[in-house]
Subunit: 280 residues, 2 copies
């Protein structure tokens, strides 16, 4: 998926919120917003949004001297998710369709996205997701794909969401490789964040090699690409990974919440929708 | 109220939506977004948002050669509102508190705001507003103020919303002067738009003299200012007029929907709230 004009003011908004959240002065924040616009104003449009997002976030990281400014927030969200993990496990265990319910929970976890929202109510969102109608819910193909695959490459998104991924992983029938960002970017999970969520108890964690908030294949390492091109099922979490991979032709299961108007038009479902979509 | 950093990406978004809605090419739209950012990037912050909005919108007007690009949309919204006017009148007539109900309807009309929303469902919004709890609802002071006033200066906002204003005006007990923008800006009402909504049947329509999407007093004409400073009740519709007038000390009744996060923090109520507030 290519960059759209809609992405530009959204990225400026993200710079504003990130700068304020780490306590930068308003004049510094304004200067960062101006720098971000300068960076984007002549950007080619045939790049993916995560590639531009990376550059924009790096401006804030360099100015603040912080290379993982959302670490505390990531830990806080993960702690919160871990605190309800036993209840969520019990919910899945009692469900008539544990796999479908775990898939829905993994989508619910995608609400934890500092980049798009400044506040949220986790438990409320979980209930909303579990009772929502998913306009696209490719669960039977999901079930077949895991039966046919050797392994499952699970491309992660945000820290905290990781705990919900863990619940889904524990329902899967094949070995899972959990691929995270190579470096901190936005609130996306790194290896340390995934371990903190306990993913290592049920999956093998790797770095995708990409430091962008979306698995841009040109940036991914050989280990990731071998798995990606092998006889494995691929699960992709969140809008950023969709944006990076949507022009690919191999089968991919996208689990996400639709978080902006432009993206909703591309997917063909209303903004705010929850989606489990097989694309190939 | 002063310009905030939050306003800048919002204005860029408005340029994007306006440009697309009048059919400008994507490269022209992008150039306009860049021009808008250039215009804002060194702007002093001690101006009101409507003053900057005016400059930003003028970029699109000048490039497109259109000086009233939303005329068709304004007419469409007004026609839609006029089509339900008899039902709304009947609703007010049957109400136990006709004045309070008409005030709520005037607030409901404030949802018609092309600047902030790309789509809306008018009838649904009306029902939502009528059944909503207003966190600020200064109706008794409103009643007292109109009893004590010689006349009522009603500062209008958007076309279409005008029809809802007309319903409130028809419940008021003093002569009403309905003040609109001096020139087309955004979807705000001009004299022609107000006449099209039938306001002239129940109020005297004047131009405020200001061509900004908010009654910036420095730009208003003597006729408006004489009324504003006289022994009259002042009713201000919408966020733009609040932004222009909020530092004033004379009593003003603000009727509006809270349409952005920054504004919601200033007013101290959640985004999306409906407000009838006396400030003085």
């Amino acid at each position: 998926m290519q960059l759209a004009l809609d992405c530009l003011p959204c990225f400026i908004n993200q710079v504003l919120r990130l700068s304020r959240s780490i306590g930068l002065a308003e004049d510094v924040t304004r200067d960062l917003m101006n720098q971000a616009w300068d960076l984007m104003k002549d950007s080619p449009m045939d790049v993916t949004p995560p590639e531009v997002a990376r550059q924009v976030y790096m401006l804030v990281y360099e100015t603040s001297g912080l290379d993982n400014p959302l670490l505390d927030l990531k830990r806080e969200y993960t702690d919160l998710a871990l605190s309800i993990y036993p209840d969520l496990k019990e919910h899945v265990r009692r469900s008539e369709s544990p796999l479908a319910e775990a898939i829905k929970l993994a989508v619910a976890g995608n609400v934890i996205d500092f980049g798009q929202s400044s506040s949220f109510d986790l438990m409320k969102e979980i209930q909303t997701v579990l009772s929502a109608t998913f306009p696209i819910f490719d669960v039977e193909p999901f079930q077949r794909a895991q039966e046919e695959a050797d392994r499952i490459l699970y491309i992660a998104d945000n820290a905290g969401e990781t705990v919900f991924d863990r619940i889904l992983i524990e329902q899967l029938s094949k070995p899972v490789i959990y691929a995270v960002r190579s470096e901190p970017i936005q609130n996306d999970a790194t290896i340390a964040d995934a371990e903190y969520a306990g993913i290592d108890t049920s999956a093998h964690i790797i770095s995708s090699g990409a430091n962008t908030p979306g698995a841009v294949l040109e940036l991914c390492n050989d280990e990731f690409l071998d798995l990606y091109h092998g006889n494995n099922m691929v699960i992709s979490k969140g809008q950023g990974n969709y944006e990076a991979l949507s022009d690919e032709t191999r089968p991919i299961f996208y689990l996400l919440k639709v978080k902006c108007d432009h993206f909703s038009k591309l997917v063909g479902v209303p903004e705010g929708s929850y989606v489990v979509q097989l694309k190939q």
